[in-house]
């Protein structure tokens, strides 16, 4: 039972339209409370001159599950090149004498322990795994549970599983498809649903090498548009707060602007979230037949209020791309650097492709990808519909966020970086003419308030009374990269977890999930399918509350409410 006051900070809380107001912020037992200024408290922190925001929320970050661990297995060199830490810095112990920071390393795909530590040290208090296969759900929850401090959750992948495609091809009753979607969310303890290259992962299993939005799947005859429409309608009827999370068709293919816009329209006006849209914003103009489609895409987003996006900004340097999109990842394998890669077909659910990649400043294509990401950030008008991501680790590791924030907030810095890039790419860029600089308020939207709203997390991403006391307090330094790298204080559920970039506590994070209502009779169909096609027993398909709690090391269950009817 403790009452804490953060004194004199400058507050940015876009959910409540608070734009740089200097006032105290108090919390008790992990929740923000309204408190009279003269009320005595148990502990006070001086935040004067500092900037106070809710903890950061990364709505699309590959932090756990099969392909993430394959990335680690594939790249021991990534882990060996992790800068050495001072041993002395690891000797902090908890009350029981255990070391707070256990050994864990890696740059682009750190171990789960390092992932949790680094997110927290950066002022982030939640991250969401966007590509959990139903068959890999336990593994995903186990890894997320071993990601300390931050809360987590996952979007379950549908739309490439054989059963869904069979039902769609057989023109099964929509209600049954909807119940299947509801059951899958329930069984895998997911927060939302993601579709990756709709139908395309399955099509690759039947040796189809590309699939456009209105092109039929070679085996089932259905189109990506039908998959998108069915899934977004199902989520709307199930009243799941997060819209369908879409990794669109034709990832990385020059000229994919059209299919990206067609993907937006496949939702027929229902809410839809297009993820890492940078990879889906490519034109075919110019001598290299590769150009920025950012303007087109931004215009399309601006014109469609039902669409939200995250960017998937690329960051120069070594990373690894890990995706369920086997069709596209296999195409990219010749570009693997270093020259090694993993692709797999998984459990009639989906698949995965892990391809290491080095984004180079002097590569025309890579430079333009970097430019396109920034153009999209700067050209989309409504920051509430844009989330800041690098699609960790696909565009770059999440530890690049402070750098990315500076690129968005600091035009001269952006110009300086642009000048280092491939000269042809600079010429092909609209970036020099984009003078917009993100304000602190807008950064607070795209890194916490917006993602919380898009995910339906009502008590996160803001600083109103009743909200969880997930708080980041930054020193107001002119170098925004430095500022966002190591906040002065980070609180998780009211507990101080990091101070000036150093851990002081490592609590276990909680798990966000949603439990939509659906007709249980769908289980008969699922059991029959499982018996006929799968190698496991349907009796073990669903994860109970108790089991997910075990997977997550006893982390708190944080059920997210479905939207109200009407």
């Amino acid at each position: 039972m403790s009452l804490v006051r953060l004194k004199g900070g400058t507050i940015f809380d876009p959910t409540h339209n608070v734009n740089g107001e200097r006032r105290d912020l108090s919390f008790r037992d992990g929740r923000i409370v309204d408190l009279a200024p003269n009320m005595p408290v148990d502990r006070e922190y001086d935040a004067s001159g500092m900037i106070v925001m809710a903890g950061g929320i990364d709505m699309h970050s590959h932090i756990g599950g099969g392909k993430t661990n394959l990335s680690r297995l594939l790249l021991p060199e990534d882990h060996r090149t992790d800068p050495l830490r001072e041993p002395a810095g690891e000797s902090a112990q908890d009350d029981a004498g255990r070391y707070l920071r256990l050994p864990s390393c890696g740059v682009c795909t750190p171990g789960t322990l390092a992932t949790g530590y680094r997110y927290a040290e950066m002022g982030y208090t939640a991250a969401f795994e966007p590509a959990m296969m139903p068959s890999n759900a336990r593994h995903t929850h186990l890894e997320m549970g071993d990601t300390p401090i931050i809360d987590h959750g996952a979007y379950v992948m549908l739309g490439n599983d054989e059963l869904f495609l069979q039902m769609l091809a057989a023109r099964d009753d929509f209600a049954r498809l909807r119940d299947y979607v509801g059951w899958t969310i329930h069984a895998s303890k997911a927060l939302g649903v993601k579709v990756v290259n709709p139908g395309g992962i399955s099509a690759f299993k039947f040796n189809q090498r590309s699939l456009d939005v209105d092109e039929p799947h070679v085996h089932y005859g259905i189109t990506p548009r039908e998959v998108l429409h069915t899934l977004s309608r199902a989520l709307t009827e199930l009243r799941v707060p997060h819209p369908l999370h879409v990794h669109a068709s034709n990832l990385g293919v020059p000229g994919n602007i059209e299919s990206t816009i067609a993907t937006m329209d496949a939702a027929d006006g229902l809410p839809i979230h297009l993820t890492h849209i940078q990879f889906h914003s490519y034109g075919v103009e110019g001598p290299q037949k590769f150009s920025s489609g950012a303007r087109h895409i931004a215009d399309a987003v601006n014109a469609r209020p039902n669409v939200s996006i995250d960017v998937g900004q690329i960051i120069f340097g070594q990373t690894v791309t890990a995706s369920g999109d086997t069709m596209m990842q296999f195409r990219n394998t010749p570009f693997a650097r270093p020259h090694k890669w993993v692709v797999g077909d998984i459990e009639c659910d989906a698949g995965c492709g892990v391809v290491p990649f080095r984004y180079r400043e002097q590569s025309y294509v890579n430079a333009l990808q970097w430019i396109i990401g920034l153009e999209i950030f700067l050209l989309v008008d409504d920051p509430w519909r844009v989330a800041m991501t690098t699609d960790h680790p696909n565009g770059g590791p999440f530890t690049s966020y402070p750098h990315l924030i500076r690129l968005l907030m600091d035009k001269p810095f952006r110009d300086e970086q642009l000048a280092k890039l491939n000269p042809d790419a600079q010429v092909a860029s609209a970036l020099p003419g984009l003078t917009r600089e993100f304000s602190m308020y807008e950064i607070a939207i795209i890194t916490r308030a917006g993602p919380a709203r898009l995910l339906g997390l009502r008590d996160r991403g803001h600083l109103g009374a009743g909200a969880a006391a997930d708080i980041a307090v930054y020193r107001d330094e002119p170098d925004r990269e430095r500022m966002f790298t190591s906040p002065a204080y980070v609180f998780k559920d009211g507990e101080l977890v990091a101070r000036d970039g150093t851990l002081v506590a490592t609590p276990t994070g909680g798990i966000h999930f949603v439990s939509p209502e659906f007709d249980r009779s769908i289980e008969k169909t699922l059991r029959a399918y499982s018996d006929a096609r799968l190698a496991s027993n349907f009796a073990h398909a669903a994860i109970s509350d108790d089991e997910v709690c075990d997977c997550c090391r006893g982390g708190r269950l944080l059920p997210v409410e479905c939207l109200a009817n009407g």
Binding site: C105, L142, F204, F206, G344, H540
Partner: protein
């Protein structure tokens, strides 16, 4: 779920949909009966491995006591002595590691507390797979994909039923796909016979695996069999291996989905990694025009599970050494080295000063090469008690629960994409590896802080 709850060791109970923890197929369609006398049985099992594993559980398991230096002691005394051994050790090895996810998680924290080296009982089988993956990657598939789509199955130098008796039942039974099963470099697995719509045959049963894969790789890259006739002396050799493999390539090209099955543990050492790399290279090349994937067997006794868990926690796979913050400046807290941190090498060279041996699935003893003077802590199956008593001095034994018999748990299935939940079939009151490792961690730190105060 377990009808008897977790404490009713003496109550007969039947568990349906039970998942067997004794091999990485993790068959989950079984009915297990726990009898009043502490024994267990599965009626009508076709699995010799399961039957043998169940025979190691008996009425006396719950009376099994801890042992220190040959004498039975209370758990508390055994934990105290074990913690003392770890606190005194400068370079402990945590070997065996036959445990589940929860055990691996807790053992990792303990290893971090005392700067231990981690290697698994099956480290020698695991390592070539790890090395091949680190060097070139892989192209893999999973059991349900095999079951529902594979029409051509190639088995390279392995008969899966030898170690995984129900392999063919799991992937072939009650399906109606016409399939060809070809055993390359070995005889047909007798267990593969008798499935509907399935034909079996063998190719090059006596060929050298390296030669076979060299030829096959060349053919996979488009070389003509006619150009591959010469042996190493430049003479025209028997053309048949190249021609045989060329016709195999044609069958892969014509198949809808080819799955190439291999077992790292059955490949000839010490260069099994080269064979694994070649198998995956052949499959990767095939995917340029058709669809194919590899299925690697192995991962027994929690090898796959512990490797996965250590990898996600630390970033590094097994055969990794952890260091405490007391290490010298300029060194890393994790050092992954599959050659250096091999159990047999470390023991032979006298490079470790304590061994923590975990064996929760079967009474598998520590390596015989362990110097009697090196302190040994065994977190083991109750049936290991006598062996530890016989070792006498420098030995601590604490009986542990088997996941799936006396506790729940999680294990990775052979294809490494699916984690299966385990339910306790018997529920005898034995401590889990996870709980013991956690208690040891606490005691280790108490011991350390006590020493500091003195």
């Amino acid at each position: 779920m377990n009808a008897s709850g977790t404490t009713g060791a003496r109550t007969p109970a039947i568990t349906r949909d039970w998942t067997c923890p004794f091999c990485p197929l993790l068959c989950d369609d079984l009915v297990v009966e726990s009898h009043g006398d502490g024994t267990l049985s599965v009626a009508d099992t076709e699995c010799s491995r399961l039957a043998a594993a169940l025979a190691s559980y008996s009425a006396t398991d719950t009376q099994c006591r801890s042992v220190v230096d040959g004498n039975e002691v209370a758990l508390d005394a055994a934990l105290a002595r074990a913690a003392q051994i770890l606190a005194d050790s400068r370079r402990p090895l945590f070997g065996g590691l036959a445990t589940d996810v929860a055990g691996a998680r807790a053992v990792y924290v303990l290893a971090a507390g005392c700067g231990a080296i981690l290697d698994h009982l099956h480290g020698d089988a695991l390592t070539p797979a790890t090395l091949a993956l680190q060097d070139r990657g892989s192209f893999f598939t999973t059991l349900s994909e095999v079951r529902s789509r594979a029409d051509l199955l190639l088995f390279f130098g392995c008969q899966p039923s030898r170690r995984y008796p129900r392999f063919f039942t799991r992937v072939l039974a009650s399906t109606d796909i016409a399939r060809e099963l070809i055993f390359v470099g070995c005889a047909v697995d007798p267990a593969a016979a008798g499935f509907a719509h399935t034909r079996t045959e063998t190719l090059l049963p006596h060929a050298d695996p390296y030669d076979t894969l060299a030829l096959w790789s060349a053919l996979g890259e488009g070389r003509e069999p006619g150009g591959l006739h010469r042996d190493s002396n430049g003479n025209d050799a028997d053309a048949s291996p190249a021609a045989t493999l060329s016709s195999l390539q044609a069958r892969i090209a014509a198949a809808r989905y080819t799955v190439l099955v291999y077992d790292p543990g059955a490949l000839p050492s010490p260069h099994a990694a080269l064979l694994i790399e070649a198998l995956n290279r052949i499959v990767k090349a095939a995917n340029r025009t058709t669809r194919a994937a590899c299925l690697a067997l192995g991962g027994d006794d929690g090898a796959l599970t512990v490797n996965q868990t250590v990898t996600w926690l630390s970033g590094m796979p097994l055969r990794t050494r952890l260091s405490t913050p007391a290490r010298s400046a300029g060194t890393a807290s994790l050092d992954h080295d599959p050659y250096r941190y091999r159990t047999s090498r470390l023991l032979a060279g006298g490079e470790v000063d304590a061994l923590l041996w975990t064996a929760s699935f079967a009474p598998l003893a520590w390596p015989a090469s362990l110097d009697p003077a090196v302190p040994l802590i065994v977190l083991g199956h109750p049936a290991l008690a006598d062996a530890t008593k016989a070792r006498g001095a420098n030995t601590v034994f604490i009986p542990v629960a088997t996941p799936g018999i006396d506790t729940g748990g999680h294990l990775f299935r052979v294809d490494s994409s699916v984690v299966m939940p385990l339910a306790a079939a018997r529920g005898a009151a034995l401590a889990s590896v996870a709980s013991l490792a956690t208690q040891l961690t606490t005691r280790l730190h108490e011991q350390r802080s006590g020493e500091v105060q003195q």
